[in-house]
Symmetry: C2
Subunit: 581 residues, 2 copies
């Protein structure tokens, strides 16, 4: 994120053009090594680290397989797309990733973001979006443009995540209670739910609620520290830990077991099951650049129509993927080693581009599974490769059994994963520190909840940038008048930088202060705190100097920083004396 | 413009709601007096001042009548609309206006802005826009919202004005050379002109070029100062001054005279003439709230369609009208008296609202005619009333003679007025002071020229706000390391306020500096220059403090302003000691 100043011409490089240098930099040897971090850790692999990675990889896989099926349904896709999307991330991150423990696969935020276009145009659009967002991510990474994300503030991200968590949870209420209705948008989903809730199916409801209780209990259990240090304690600890880590898989497995035993192909099912899942993997082939299957969407879209329909979403998906990956990389980076943001972005880009050849929908790093990976003792990104292999095996051999997974258990897995993302706990600290930050938070949250998540993040970001700009329009300016025998000395001290929205305000404030005095002999502008001065505010200073200088007062600027001096010389005010440069 | 802080609750007013106070304030007696400035100057009128105002009013009228006919054609309207639009401004400004010399009537910038919708939907839309923009202006004025205009930077305004001047001039080339073609947009107009230039009509071309030479010569002549102080010199000076002030009227009058003498109703005209103009004034009636005349547009538009089609333009026209009026009020305000921006905005709003009852298109203050008014010795806004009466008389009695005005002479009047608005002279000072200000200037100019003036001003403003925000993403931060026996002391001193786009950058910079040291004993954050700190950057500070504090270093914040202290207390970092509050 700190590569903003790298592009300044240095030394003998100056003869090359900006783009020559940019492109030269991408392909130079040193960059290539730092761009392929596996060259560093691959030679260090030992049997011991492989065993650790095997355990970690399998632990992540146990979480990933049920979650991937569930997240595919959030995106409006058939469940097997979840498996397809969980494969390439492990391989690509092993090649390009800069941290050890990141797990790249489907996440709930991206799934809910693409849901509207998938329901409108069919699954091919999800794969197209995966490819397109991968290209955008790769470009942002290669050209060090990750700093653009600095403009999406934490307040906006918190608001977005909270709204997404509520929306995702609301969509799962249907499956949790065995209901069936169609709905669109958060409010309509809630209304539909409460309209139909009396039609609940007893078996699904009991299973769903039991799963939720199980999942939250196991999660809480995993956080307990058992006292003592005996061998028994150690074994119990390991068991509890495994129950906690593998709770999603255990939950789904147990529920599927119950469903198998109560299944009767001749009568109506006891539970709503996810049903047939295509077995095996799709062939490795280029992503669709147009929709071909009329039955899956309303009509066939050519490439340009597809790009136009999804252009905004491409950018949104790319930004969200990068935001989540960078947040994880920062949280789980190894000690003092600073995160190379561009490298992480490239790794996510590669996962999506290559993943789209295997019918993946957009993926990125997942917080919960990265935490599982770390907790399971991951040593190298080989762990991710193990997870991917596990998903491939699941797709090949387990799909017949997936038929029996009750929808209610998957809904519980989803709600258990996302409900904790509602960031209600940031509200109090924001209130205590900077109340105005609650505005972008609230705007993003409510706009996201009621008018669409993508709109929420856009409106929130614009609002936050405007709030920041409004502050610049009314800078703190101290004005002191000292009365002497022959007249008054006015000291004007802006307490911060002056930029254009403040230009008129600054003039009015100073003029008002001076008009109160009978005779002003000297006007002193103390610019100690002025770190930036643009053309408009420099003209304001010139205008004030010429006015007062013209009417006989002495105008002095003091504590002028060198770069501000250049600006003051540029406006060429003859009435202003500049001192203390 | 400095009423931003007025809305803070004061004293026993606090029990009333925000809007109660707002509305109460609008109708209180003190406000009413300051809102009707004529109550102050009307009793002071004397015969001498009336004579001065008569001369000034007639001088302005001599410029206004030909310009108003010309500006109506810029807007795509029949010439008589220019006369209709030149009447109410004088009366309304006399009642509500805060300065003495402002002349409110059609201006070229507003005319070219409404041109696209007028050609599309007919003249009624221009009157509707006049009414609607008047309402918006009145609202902005009454609620003291003029400060919003601070966000349109001078660089953007200069870019817009320059582009508008070139576009207006380009549209007049056709009439200047007696050509006839249809064109749309700046580039297309130039292409059409050069395609058809060989079909030029000799008589029109000679007249047009001669008019241009005459107008610029007279303008230059008016700026000459004659030496000496004799009676002859005085008379010559007055004559020259009159030639300069009245050059537009003289030019058009002479050309019309020539046209009358060469006119032959049986053969083709020697010159392209503006032709029949409806005589007299339209009846005073409410503005059209829908288009009724099918022949004048493509179809009938109901009120809501009309409002939707022109919604963006209403806002644009209002903002431009206010910008121009305020710029003039500031330039021509009387000495030390500060301009009441809200009052000026109300005066413009009233002119447009009432004007629309007389089929006016949007009007505002005009720089050139205000200058003529001032130079002619205006004493009170009665001068504007005189001008209006003169326009009414012209509309009643002179329209038969307007038939003979050659189009080439009007084109010359327009080009003579607008070509000097190309602000090429701001480029050098901008380059010397703040090169980055050339970006919003250039963006507005080129986007305005090639893609539409309204788009230009929007894009330019967004770009300028973004540039300002980018600066906030990379604040100047000084980091000094002092090596002692037992370790290093790191001093971190941000040289300006910290807001969210800088949050990650700040963390990375400090971490990088500290990772270079072997052992850090103390980290000091000197916040002397930090005037604002938001939630995101406060969290960065907390994160840094917890990191370093956790690893054994002492973390101290010094020179903390009281309001920053509140923020630091809000984040509740236990590792940070705050001193020097």
């Amino acid at each position: 994120m700190d590569s903003f100043h790298e592009e300044l011409p240095k030394g003998d490089d100056t003869k090359k053009s900006f783009w020559q240098k940019k492109i030269g930099k991408i392909f130079c040897k040193k960059t290539l090594y730092s761009r392929l971090p596996f060259l560093e850790w691959l030679p260090k692999i030992r049997i011991a680290s492989l065993v650790s990675d095997l355990i970690a990889g399998l632990s992540v896989g146990l979480t990933l397989v049920p979650q991937s099926l569930a997240y595919a349904t959030i995106a409006g896709l058939p469940p097997q797309y979840g498996l397809y999307s969980s494969i390439m991330g492990g391989f690509m991150y092993a090649i390009f990733g800069g941290t050890t423990s990141m797990s790249v696969a489907p996440v709930s935020l991206l799934a809910i973001t693409i849901y509207p276009v998938v329901t409108k145009f069919g699954p091919e659009v999800a794969v197209f979006l995966c490819f397109a967002s991968g290209i955008i991510e790769m470009a942002l990474g290669l050209f060090n443009l990750g700093f653009l994300l600095d403009f999406i503030s934490p307040a906006v991200i918190d608001g977005f995540t909270s709204a997404a968590a509520l929306i995702i949870s609301s969509t799962q209420l249907k499956s949790l209670f065995g209901l069936s209705y169609k709905s669109e948008g958060f409010l309509n989903t809630l209304i539909q739910f409460f309209t139909h809730v009396k039609e609940y199916r007893m078996a699904d409801t009991i299973m769903g609620v039991a799963c939720l209780i199980f999942l939250f209990s196991m999660r809480a259990l995993g956080r307990l520290k058992l006292p003592g240090d005996s061998a028994v304690t150690k074994i119990v600890s390991k068991l509890v830990w495994f129950l906690s880590i593998g709770r999603n898989a255990i939950c789904v497995f147990l529920c599927a077991g119950i469903a198998v035993n109560t299944y009767d192909p001749l009568s109506e099912d006891t539970f709503n099951l996810i049903g047939n899942i295509t077995s095996g993997l799709p062939s490795f082939s280029p992503p669709p650049l147009q929709t071909t299957n009329v039955t899956s969407g309303n009509k066939i879209l050519e490439f340009w129509e597809l790009a136009t329909e999804t252009g905004f979403l491409m950018i949104m998906v790319s930004l969200l993927a990068i935001l989540e990956a960078l947040a994880i990389a920062k949280s789980f980076s190894d000690g003092k080693k600073s995160v190379d943001a561009s490298q992480e972005i490239i790794a996510i880009g590669a996962s999506n581009i290559v993943g789209s050849f295997l019918s993946s929908f957009p993926v990125t790093g997942a917080f919960s599974r990265t935490a599982v990976n770390k907790a399971s003792g991951v040593q190298t990104p080989i762990s991710g490769v193990i997870t991917s292999v596990m998903v491939i095996l699941a797709a090949q051999f387990l799909t017949p059994y997936f038929f029996y997974i009750p929808k209610a258990s998957l809904a519980a897995v989803i709600i258990g994963a996302v409900i904790l993302m509602v960031e209600y706990h940031v509200i109090l600290p924001m209130w205590r520190t900077k109340k105005s930050d609650l505005i972008p938070f609230g705007t993003t949250f409510f706009a996201g909840l009621f008018f669409g998540l993508d709109l929420g993040i856009i409106v929130g970001t614009v609002v936050h940038i405007l709030i920041m700009s409004f502050a610049k329009a009314r800078p703190t300016i101290e004005i002191k008048a000292t009365h002497k025998e022959d007249g008054t000395i006015i000291l004007v001290m802006p307490r911060e930088s002056l930029v254009f929205p403040a230009a008129d305000y600054f003039i009015n404030l100073v003029k008002k202060a001076i008009s109160k005095e009978e005779k002003v002999t000297t006007v002193i502008f103390d610019l100690a705190f002025v770190n930036r001065l643009d053309f408009a505010t420099a003209k304001s200073l010139k205008c004030l100097s010429d006015d007062f200088g013209g009417s006989g007062a002495e105008v002095i600027a003091i504590n002028v920083m060198p770069k501000i001096l250049t600006v003051l010389q540029g406006i060429q005010s003859k009435k202003m004396n500049v001192a203390n440069c």
